[in-house]
Symmetry: C2
Subunit: 257 residues, 2 copies
């Protein structure tokens, strides 16, 4: 546990279990987090005093409080991407019947920072905060393709987890795929994470030209037609370009031949 300070770590874990299961009491939290009741009581007491959790005095249960919203609102400010992207995600969502996701990379994971759900598919899919591997799915592979070279090596140090028959688990094959993605700045995947799902994704670049996020449309294969594929492929690239532009990205002009 090197440098981590355990009390803080436990408090954060508590917050997260409360995020997953709101409306539970001290004993249940204690059970879920594997701590004693008294410890949980004190942790939650300090969290409550700061507004991170709220106690319902009648039922003596706890839920997340309003302070996380404050943090998120401020995080939101600094995440230029999210801010810039949201209006475009809204538009994109109205134009297709898949889920629209905005992903960024954090270390060796992809993190979903925005979702627009369309009424049709179940919410089996992404939720804000959901983390996933980088070697599967339409968006994550883009993030991996444009990540620092060392990171890929670090990832390849351990074997790639297989999710379906279509999952790329061969390092060489993955490298080729990433090369291809770098060339086109977009990617699509069909059933490499969930066998029944597709995903069309495109890279978002900031003013410095760095790939900072991806937009994607994801849905069930069963609902996908050739016609849709073509338009989604186009839509997703289009929105990625618009968001990039909003971030100040100016595509380099190639020397005319």
């Amino acid at each position: 546990m090197s440098y981590t300070i355990t009390a803080v770590d436990r408090a954060l874990a508590l917050l997260e279990t409360l995020a997953e299961k709101p409306g539970i009491g001290v004993t249940e939290i204690a059970h879920l987090t594997g701590n004693t009741k008294s410890l949980v009581f004190r942790l939650i007491y300090t969290l409550e005093r700061r507004g991170y959790v709220i106690k319902d005095p009648s039922t003596r249960t706890y839920t997340l409080g309003y302070r996380p919203l404050y943090l998120a609102a401020n995080a939101h400010d600094q995440f230029a991407v999210l801010r810039a992207a949201e209006p475009f995600l809204d538009v994109l969502a109205t134009r297709c019947d898949g889920n629209v996701n905005l992903l960024v990379r954090d270390g060796l994971n992809s993190v979903c920072i925005a979702v627009r759900e369309t009424p049709a598919p179940a919410d089996l899919y992404a939720k804000v905060g959901r983390r996933g591997p980088l070697h599967v799915g339409g968006g994550p592979k883009i993030l991996l393709a444009f990540a620092p070279a060392e990171l890929l090596e670090e990832l390849l140090a351990s074997p790639l987890e297989r999710f379906t028959d279509a999952t790329i688990v061969d390092p060489a094959a993955l490298r080729r795929k990433l090369e291809e993605i770098r060339a086109v700045g977009a990617n699509e995947s069909h059933g490499d994470l969930d066998p029944e799902a597709y995903s069309f994704a495109a890279a978002i670049r900031d003013a410095a030209g760095e790939v900072v996020a991806t937009v994607s449309i994801a849905g069930l294969n069963a609902t996908l037609t050739d016609e849709k594929s073509n338009s989604y492929r186009r839509f997703v690239r289009d929105t990625a370009q618009r968001i990039s532009a909003a971030l100040g990205y100016r595509p380099k002009l190639r020397a005319a031949v």
Copy 2:
């Protein structure tokens, strides 16, 4: 400090200073929070490992991470009000040139949980997470009016803070005002917090008939006309009713006379 566990408390304080001042380093945080460098280093290390802060290795500065977004997204789910209100706030914002705010009560404070800013006024006003007293402003007084009776007594146990000439600091006068608010379910204030600002607010009720939040429009007196006053008063009540309806509130039918 009774039950609070200090390590956790300090960690949360650190998160919040980072929310206010993103992009600072260890020493500056240490300075701002009044802790030693080594402590800050360890706190931030554990926060980083859990994704609450992100370190920029090149500049060695820290910003909020993606995990708060996850918490907020889950808090969002349980806050039916926020979810129900957002579309209506959007509409309201397009119809007026003041700031639109959604407030809830947390203990003896009002907390802003959503804002729609209009380009015109400065953002002196509310931000998400902003806390304020309950006895001033259009919205807070509504929250106070419908809070449990004990709470008002608790509030009146200490003298009411005066902000401007228009602030109600006399307990008896406040009680009368609250009575009036309970009768109409709406409220407006002119310069009782900020001498130059107005606020029109209305109560939002949930399916059980409880007042759970308020919507308000706030702006500068200088920009207010009689005509606007009338329409804002109407707009704000209207949206409060719509949000209440979305939450499942059915107004009780009075026995016809």
